[in-house]
């Protein structure tokens, strides 16, 4: 790219403008990147808490269902599971963190009362109820985790692109522009020096001509005086 420009003053001015703009953009993007990383750190803390809770809930839920399965038999548990009528639903809304759209997931019908579950109370045992309870809680944790982890993924994507842009400006565009600027400046200076040298040459030539003319005239005058 460096030698593609014509060394004219107009191009130099244009390049100087572009350098100024790129530097401003670079500063802004750098600030954006730092801001995003700070926001990300907050979310990361949150995500790690949610993760821990999630793993606890999962352990608890697994214990509950293993107990139900051991005491009531696999068939009873599956039967109860197949009878459920209400199903959890998710609605997603979005929130904006520094230009990154992250989802906010809201759920309905996750927690259910005993009579809303749809399986007969008499036909099943309390252990199945406990297992269902534990899994409902687990689902709530999962929804929370999904929200936080999606936010993290999106933030990470944004951080990556911003970082790439910052680096492209810093290590590619700006050095190229500066190289061009330098090239044009050097060329223009050289042209100036050439111009001065040319002027000097012309001046010397003119002076030599004038001197020759004067000498000729003097010779003529001398010749006329000698004749007299």
């Amino acid at each position: 790219m460096a030698k593609d420009v014509k060394p004219t003053r107009k191009n130099l001015m244009q390049i100087e403008d572009r350098i100024e703009l790129s530097e401003r953009g670079h500063d802004t993007l750098e600030k954006k990147r730092d801001g995003l990383i700070m926001e990300f750190m907050d979310i990361l803390d949150q995500a790690q808490d949610v993760r821990e809770d999630l793993d606890d809930s999962y352990d608890r839920a697994q214990r509950a269902i293993n107990m139900a399965r051991a005491m009531d038999g696999d068939v009873a548990v599956r039967g109860a599971a197949a009878a459920l009528k209400e199903h959890p639903e998710l609605t997603t809304q979005s929130k904006n963190i520094m230009g990154v759209v992250v989802p906010q997931i809201e759920s309905s019908k996750v927690k259910k009362n005993l009579d809303e579950r749809g399986y007969g109370v008499l036909g099943t045992s309390a252990r199945i109820d406990e297992a269902a309870d534990a899994y409902e809680e687990l689902l709530e944790q999962i929804i929370l985790a999904a929200e936080v982890e999606t936010a993290m993924k999106k933030m990470l994507e944004e951080i990556e692109t911003t970082k790439r842009r910052v680096n492209a400006l810093e290590f590619k565009l700006l050095p190229d522009l500066r190289e061009n600027q330098e090239y044009i400046e050097q060329k223009l200076e050289e042209q100036e020096r050439e111009e001065i040298f040319r002027m000097k040459k012309i001046k010397a030539k003119k002076e030599a001509e004038e001197r020759a003319e004067r000498e000729e005239e003097e010779e003529e005058v001398e010749a006329v005086a000698a004749d007299d």
Partner: protein
Amino acid sequence: MSQEIAVVGAPDFTTGFRLAGVRRFAEVDDDEKDEQLDDAVSEMLADDDVGIVVMHDEDLNHLSRGVREDVETSVDPVLVTLGGGAGSSGLREQIKRAIGIDLMEE
């Protein structure tokens, strides 16, 4: 827009979620996971009605490379893995790449 939770995994894994009311699930037996899990997961990813996919962390190892990458980077639906400990591994890799340091080490 209302979406649902989907569970993919062994029958033992999904039963509990069915007890909590989840009705979208794909059951794949343990010895068929290598062949069938890819399809089951791809199907869930392509479904617009699914908002969250729940899987067991170990089941990710049964997926082929492409599907695994798809599911780990997918945002809609988003994958939540259980039983794996420190977050889904894909997220950890992504953090390393974007920030430059491993923030999730214990």
